[in-house]
């Protein structure tokens, strides 16, 4: 195993838009401000994306154990 870690790509995603899938079929997007090894996240200008459109959440802290996957912005 190399010494780089799966979460290293989040480092390049800071201050950029990310898409997040949470348990319970929730999807969110926002500007990634901060993260830790548990995938606890801080997002700015976050929105929950549902069937009826996006709901603005502002700044949020997401507890990492609800996260299924995170997509950084395309390179």
């Amino acid at each position: 195993m190399s010494t780089s870690k799966p979460m290293d790509i989040l480092n390049q995603a800071r201050e950029k838009g990310v898409l997040i899938r949470l348990r319970g079929n929730r999807r969110m997007r926002g500007i990634l401000k901060n993260y830790d090894i548990h995938l606890n996240l801080t997002l700015e200008n976050a929105e929950e994306i549902g069937e009826g459109g996006a709901v603005k959440l502002g700044d949020v802290i997401v507890r990492g154990d609800n996260v299924i996957m995170i997509s950084p912005p395309p390179k």
Copy 2:
């Protein structure tokens, strides 16, 4: 990874109103008094927000592993 942590923004949210989403489709709001790294929270003047309006809970301790996300107040 920087040395700041996702939960650091909760430090500025102390004594201010926060909105909390819990597992099981529960939403709460209240004045954030205290928190720890597990997102255990103490809230003052807490209310549960449901379809039929808000139910007053007074002071509460929320066990962190029920938390999905926390929104600090707008800056």
Copy 3:
């Protein structure tokens, strides 16, 4: 983060009535005798509060990982 912890307010709630919400939509109340950092609790004169009224449980130990939130008595 200050050195006080969310659970510190439980220390003032000892020997007083608390209201507890458990996973699975259960609610209980009782006199808080003891607690630990996992929110394992000992209650005296505990009652389960359901739709049909309260069921007396006497003394109980509640395993902390079932706890969603605890309300100490109003100050």
Copy 4:
């Protein structure tokens, strides 16, 4: 926090009848023989209590993470 722990009252319940609620709406009773800090329990003359009465289980070891609450016998 005092140095006594929520589980200390189980020490006085040894060799006495206890009532246990488990996840999945199960209830049991039996003579408490032993326990540990995870609430792993050994019961003697255990019975599962269901709608149709009690089913004898004899001696059982209960894995603690299934336990919701334990009621020691009335003082």
Copy 5:
């Protein structure tokens, strides 16, 4: 708390038949060959007990976190 542990009675159950309840309403029986503190178990001549009778499984390793309770044979 005494220094004996709830699982100590499994030591006398080695090489004897035990009955096991698993999460998801499964029941098994078999000869207990080995166990550890997580209640990981090795059984010989194991059978799953369902509504339509017993299904032979032979030797099995059961991962402990699926275990609800274990009944050693009557003394």
Copy 6:
């Protein structure tokens, strides 16, 4: 407790066919290549066994916390 562990019988099952039950009513079989104490497994020529027959999966790594039980081949 002896110093042998429940998983020791997996050591004799290496390079042999094993049957695995996973949470969510899944069953698999394959040649056991490797395992660790969490019951993370590597299987070769793995197949998922469903109602409509077996689906070939080739080599797979199974994350241990999905495992309910493992049956080594008959002795």
Copy 7:
């Protein structure tokens, strides 16, 4: 137990296509870029595979505790 670990075969799967099954009946495929011992994964050109075809996800980080199994490419 040998010193090789179940996840070692992921090392040969780097930069190659892998198929992943997640909890909640989700399936994904993508180029494995990175992984750690929790099975946190980084995938490139990831796609979610559903009944109606594949949905492009681009780069993703998958939190390991959602993973059921991973299939490296055939040798």
